[in-house]
């Protein structure tokens, strides 16, 4: 007779294999890191550029340049670009991140030769037509109006601004900032940022010599942009502590976001911080979820995270809770942090978290794209694969006492910025 009360035997994950990229260089010096893996005849190519020349008086300069870079070149209109990309079944995405801006293309290999010339044109001869800029400004302002009605958006915005001030990490965008965007600023940003000296290419998918030659052929020649630039560098001193309440009298839920500056991936404590974060609010079984959702039913979801940017790390807890239970939820959150600081975690819970995190790491290496993402995380933090060895070792061996110490060192609610949007 089958005994269903007994769990089957299981093993801790012991082997996690990372695929390290092949390192090459285009003729113009752009480094190319390639994860050549997978069965499908497809590839993702990312052109990644460090954000440069931060100017506080033009907070949307880089954002708008990233957004509009595929909206017209010397040879192609916005529509031509879209028609060609879509015709070949490719996907072209531009992305503005806190530290880098990227242009990525996803395509089937059979269309690579047709798609690369479009990329060449975009990266070399974008002209940022005034008409496209006007449409961008109008539609982004409308979209911002909708976002400003969302409690979680407001909480994110006020939290970021409280800890990062008027840097690009904390940019507190308002409608007027869109109106101030000038075509000339976009062109000058384009010339300063989108150039080979500031570019890294990350490739994932089926990508062999033939494909590399194609890439080199179209993007390995000299580019048009070579203007001087300074890569952004920020320093932060701790931000504004204390409570921020944004009252919305009609709210039926309140958004809560609280946390503080923390360490970056480069810091020796970062992997331990990640274990501590996982325990507190980093997975479905975390203490915050177990208490505030699964026991009290105050929320649909609550979580915490530790984020590593280039010049700063930060920790936060975020949730949306019933407006009537907002104060109780805040009390419970603080209780959970206090518990982490005073009581060592039991071996049983710690083992669960270890196993969960190792399984999660294994599962996050699903395909060529995810291997490339792992490489990027380390590379753009100035680290190599020993970071992951160290991470895995820490997950396996960190002790309850060390976690308690980390909580005392890094999680002090008195130092937190606490934002509540809605009602308290």
């Amino acid at each position: 007779m089958l005994n269903r009360t007994l769990a089957p035997e299981s093993k801790q994950v012991d082997e996690i294999n990372f695929i390290e990229p092949l390192t090459q260089q285009l003729d113009n010096g752009i480094p190319v890191f390639t994860i050549n893996a997978g069965k499908q005849e497809l590839v993702r190519i990312e052109f990644i550029f460090e954000n440069v020349n931060w100017d506080q008086s033009k907070p949307l300069q880089a954002v708008a340049a990233s957004h509009l870079i595929n909206n017209g070149t010397a040879k192609l209109t916005a529509r031509d670009i879209a028609e060609k990309v879509d015709y070949y079944g490719a996907f072209l995405q531009t992305e503005y991140g806190a530290d880098q801006s990227s242009v990525k293309v996803y395509t089937l290999n059979k269309h690579l030769a047709a798609v690369l010339p479009i990329l060449r044109s975009i990266l070399n001869e974008s002209i940022f037509p005034q008409q496209e800029l006007d449409i961008f400004i109008q539609n982004q302002k409308q979209s911002l109006q909708v976002s400003l009605q969302k409690n979680d958006f407001l909480a994110r915005k006020h939290f970021a601004h409280a800890i990062f001030g008027d840097s690009t990490y904390g940019s507190n965008i308002e409608a007027a900032d869109y109106d101030a965007v000038q075509q000339a600023d976009l062109l000058s940003y384009f010339k300063a940022a989108y150039k080979p000296e500031n570019c890294t290419i990350i490739v994932a998918g089926k990508f062999e010599e033939k494909e590399f030659d194609l890439l080199n052929n179209f993007l390995g020649k000299e580019w048009d942009n070579h203007e001087k630039s300074v890569v952004n560098k920020f320093e932060f001193s701790g931000g504004r502590k204390g409570e921020v309440l944004i009252e919305r009298p009609d709210a039926i839920q309140s958004a809560i976001r609280m946390g503080a500056l923390a360490i970056t991936r480069k810091h020796k404590d970062f992997p331990g911080f990640q274990v501590m974060n996982c325990l507190l609010g980093g997975y479905f079984g975390s203490r915050l979820m177990a208490n505030i959702r699964e026991d009290k039913g105050y929320t649909y979801g609550i979580g915490s995270a530790v984020v590593s940017l280039k010049d700063a790390g930060y920790f936060f807890i975020a949730t949306e809770v019933g407006a009537d239970v907002c104060s109780s939820a805040l009390t419970e959150i603080e209780k959970e942090i206090e518990l982490l600081r005073t009581e060592p975690v039991t071996e049983e819970e710690l083992n669960l978290v270890r196993n969960y995190m190792l399984g999660s790491m294994l599962g996050s290496l699903e395909n060529a794209f995810s291997h490339a993402d792992k490489f990027k995380n380390a590379y753009f933090s100035g680290l190599d694969y020993t970071y992951y060895d160290n991470y895995i070792e820490t997950v396996k061996t960190i002790t309850a006492e060390e976690l308690k110490q980390l909580a005392n060192q890094y999680l002090n609610p008195a130092d937190f910025t606490k934002v509540v949007v809605g009602k308290k």
Binding site: I81, G89, Q142, Q253, G285, T299, G359
Partner: protein, 414 residues
């Protein structure tokens, strides 16, 4: 191409296996053939509430999540108007834990009062977070009852209102389980670094002893052909006026489904699409404009929705949409347009093969539609679409008398 093997257990549970040795992980996906369409009209939102209760402990295992996390696994689930789908990903070496957990909750739940009470609250908070406390969040709560008069698609998966969820009783929960959660109403897909023989042995060990239960025979009303245009106006504290237009279309396995899909792509897929270029870029009437299918298993809806640029009247905006719809119903799309959307469909299908979980979910879904191999033949159906068929479908669909139009106005435009 997604390969699979298939067998059926004595109790009627259908099992599919997709072997993929490029990953160290495994996926176990179980689709239950029950969704919000199977609810009674005074107990809506129940299929979804029930999904939450499936994590509240089963007859022999007090906690579902903890033992899974302990072996490095993760899980989640979703409910739609058609189906309820549960999935686990975990290191393949620990596959048996997934069988243990999933089979026990198919056998029977613990039916804990505490879990019911908590999850009622959690789902009410989900209702607020996603539908009530968001600008435009309640659109589908308004649009569904406008577009459907008979079929239970007239309510949303989350339910008609908070009250019906608050009123859910343990007896309802037990009855729902009896009716829908048994092997005959489920499809299991196991994928990843697994072998079919191993999966078969595990399935026989853990799932075959579960009683077959009764087969649920679905007998839902057909939505009658609409004869008169429907229009409704709502106002809310939102910053922009918006329009939502719904047109009746056939079910998911209809021979023309892919024609509809490509029609929506030509109108709205990507920045080269017709609506984007004409309405957003050239005429600048909308700041967002989209066309898509609801993709439901029974008769679906073809949706066109947009947010208006400030100062544009609803009448002008609607007329401009009609102009585009009438144009595509008047003249065949060009060869390039058709090739473009076919190429895009091919890409989307190939890129979806990058994800083990997506493959497993898709196999289960297509098996429910009739045959998992439909996943692999889908691309041919797209290739077979002609511009003539698109024209015919557009003519049949974009008819005023078959439209349901919702004006969603800002408070100051009311």
């Amino acid at each position: 191409m997604v390969d699979f093997n298939r067998f059926t257990l004595a109790n009627g549970l259908r099992v599919l296996v997709h072997e993929d040795d490029t990953t160290p992980m495994a996926v176990l996906n179980i689709l239950y053939d029950v969704g919000a369409r199977d609810e009674e009209q005074d107990k809506t939102g129940f299929a979804h509430l029930f999904e939450h209760l499936m994590f509240g402990g089963s007859v022999n295992i007090p906690s579902y999540d903890e033992p899974l996390q302990r072996v490095g696994g993760e899980n989640n689930a979703f409910t739609s108007n058609d189906i309820t789908n549960y999935y686990i990903t975990l290191p393949a070496t620990n596959l048996e834990t997934a069988f243990w957990l999933e089979s026990d909750r198919m056998l029977s739940l613990a039916f804990s009062e505490k879990s019911l009470e908590t999850q009622r609250n959690v789902v009410c908070e989900e209702f607020k977070q996603r539908y009530l406390n968001q600008p435009y969040g309640d659109v589908w709560l308004k649009l569904r009852p406008l577009a459907y008069k008979e079929h239970p698609y007239r309510w949303a998966t989350i339910g008609q209102d908070l009250k019906q969820i608050e009123d859910a009783k343990m007896d309802d929960v037990k009855a729902f389980f009896q009716k829908h959660y048994n092997p005959q109403n489920a499809i299991m897909v196991v994928g990843g670094n697994v072998k079919t023989a191993e999966v078969k042995a595990l399935a026989e060990k853990w799932f075959e002893p579960i009683p077959a239960g009764e087969r649920y025979l679905r007998n839902l009303p057909t939505e009658p052909q609409q004869k008169e245009a429907r229009q409704e106006t709502v106002t809310a504290e939102v910053p922009l006026n918006a329009i939502y237009m719904a047109f009746q279309m056939p079910d998911r396995v209809d021979k023309d489904y892919q024609v509809y899909d490509l029609l929506s792509d030509i109108l709205s897929q990507g920045q080269s699409s017709r609506l984007y270029n004409s309405l957003l870029k050239e005429q600048q009437l909308f700041s967002e404009i989209n066309a898509y299918l609801t993709g439901s298993i029974d008769q679906g809806l073809f949706i066109v929705e947009g947010k208006l640029v400030e100062g544009v009247t609803m009448e002008a905006a609607e007329a401009a949409i009609w102009k585009e719809l009438n144009a595509i119903a008047a003249e065949e799309v060009t060869v390039d347009e058709l090739t473009k959307v076919k190429n895009k469909s091919e890409s989307i299908i190939v890129f979806a093969e990058m994800s083990l979980l997506d493959k497993a979910m898709n196999l289960a879904y297509y098996e429910l539609l009739g045959d998992a191999n439909l996943l692999n033949t889908e691309i041919h159906k797209y290739h077979d679409v002609t511009s003539t068929r698109i024209l015919e479908v557009a003519q049949r669909t974009f008819v005023k008398e078959q439209s349901s139009i919702l004006y969603y106005l800002t408070a100051q435009d009311a």
